[in-house]
Symmetry: C2
Subunit: 303 residues, 2 copies
């Protein structure tokens, strides 16, 4: 998927939401454990119920690797199911890979050829040759860790470089910009550090940013939109646990859709309108509201 298509999907859905498929067998509804492939079954129902409100899905590899070979089968089924049924969705392998050049080439093969992911998260510590093999695939993306949402981001990512006066995460942005284009490179910037978004936008005004840490981790969607949005939106905001584990009864997917719609897609549409990227349509009922009605108002169980 290219930059233009991704921006147009965001405007067409009025959403820049990514849903993290951190599918943990100890947290999904118990009744799914009797199915043949509980991780896949959970993901399928979540995607079917929420895809009107999200433009991207992000399986985190750890949750699948923790189940061994069976987990990889569930991962493969999940990404193929999404791309077969909803080809306009953007699917991210949250894998945080990175190795010497020859080896990164094989990771690129794993995620872009063997599996149909659109993008992969990559760690920058090993530098240019660990990243560039992923950039050779047309319409595929690297999402490079810049400033992460966790406490450990304070350990090294803010280090001030004595020679350049840039902090490490700023230098990651500055250097990697030279190896890539806005068409194949995005950056991870945690919502918990939204105050840094303004400086980051000075270095990478055009690139998409993948922003985790809204929701369970405490980041503010409003601040992310305020400091991070550019004239193509340029944001993909991720929420995982808050959406996918909204309920653990039989209508868990409906409950997830309710959160995705009310807490994310609705405000996101408003931010896109407020920043002049979408027209306001006061007189026409929005498509989202119609879909919302279908999912919740006529839902057989109370949410």
């Amino acid at each position: 998927m290219d930059y233009k298509k991704l921006s147009s999907e965001i405007l067409s859905k009025g959403s820049f939401l990514c849903i993290g498929l951190d599918t943990d067998l100890t947290k999904i509804p118990k009744h799914l454990l009797d199915t043949e492939d509980p991780q896949f079954e959970f993901n399928k129902q979540i995607v079917d119920a929420t895809h009107h409100f999200a433009i991207a899905y992000k399986p985190n590899l750890a949750f699948y690797e923790a189940e061994g070979v069976k987990g990889w089968q569930s991962l493969e089924k999940t990404v193929c199911y999404i791309k077969d049924n909803y080809p306009d969705l953007f699917v991210i392998a949250d894998a945080k890979r990175g190795d010497i050049g020859n080896t990164s080439k094989l990771y690129a093969k794993a995620f872009f050829e063997k599996l149909p992911f659109d993008a992969i998260t990559v760690a920058p510590y090993m530098g240019e040759d660990s990243i560039t093999p992923f950039l050779e695939y047309p319409n595929k993306w690297v999402i490079l860790l810049a400033l992460t949402s966790n406490k450990g981001s304070l350990d090294f990512q803010h280090n001030a470089n004595a020679d350049t006066d840039q902090s490490l995460h700023q230098e990651v942005l500055t250097k990697s910009k030279k190896w890539s284009t806005k068409q194949n490179m995005m950056y991870v910037v945690g919502a918990t550090q939204a105050d840094k978004l303004r400086e980051i936008r000075e270095i990478v005004p055009d690139n998409f940013l993948l922003v985790p840490g809204v929701g369970a981790q405490g980041g503010s969607l409003e601040e992310v939109a305020k400091y991070g949005m550019n004239d193509s939106c340029g944001l993909i905001v991720n929420s995982s646990r808050e959406i996918i584990y909204a309920s653990n009864d039989k209508n868990f997917a409906g409950a997830a859709a309710k959160i995705a719609f009310e807490k994310y897609q609705q405000p996101m549409r408003q931010y896109l309108q407020a920043y002049g990227l979408l027209w306001c349509n006061f007189f026409l009922p929005s498509i989202s509201s119609v879909i919302y009605g279908r999912f919740f108002l006529y839902s057989p169980s109370k949410i």
Copy 2:
């Protein structure tokens, strides 16, 4: 496996060699492609032929992930085969993982519970909480990237911190030492940067170092031993391609053993003797020589 046991394995074999199982289906002998599981079959024969000369094996995950679900099956079979048949071998998942704390916990589960690896390589960019979940497993190890062997290591790992006067890789060593002990933490230091080993040993005198980059990448074993060895040896030197792809005929495993013995284990034994960690036995034929004879002198094909 604990520190003492690992040191004693090194002295008992007169070797600190790790063989990297970077098993690429385009490079292994063609006749293996007709077997049910070529990656596993190749690994099994390599391990059976070389285990007298090596104390560790290191499958790099990229080579298995590139084959999808089948690759994970081959990986699982490989690590289980090694631990079942040679429980004294140290097996490293070269995975370069690292994520927010909750997610790193699942990677630890994947490699230390679901699979019986002794150690995993971890990337430091995301800081303390991305690393500590791996440290909670007794007798399991984190091998943290400090100074890698590739060209891209020059991009960020030598950055001078304006506040501490340490370069980034030195700071990774200094900070991570506080989160761990020499019993559960090793560091990756590339042999191509052996001149930095002296400074690194000042920061982490007791920790084991995993040293890639000898052989195909051009690092010098002699320099690594000179600047890196401590009084428990403290080194695990990896070679992958040079050993495992020594030949691609039917006796590829014998050819691998020949390189492992002649180019690595023999000099390693001499370094261990030269640095006073092993006695020299001039009068007794060494066990290695007997094994060497078995593998090569009576080998049916010329190597």
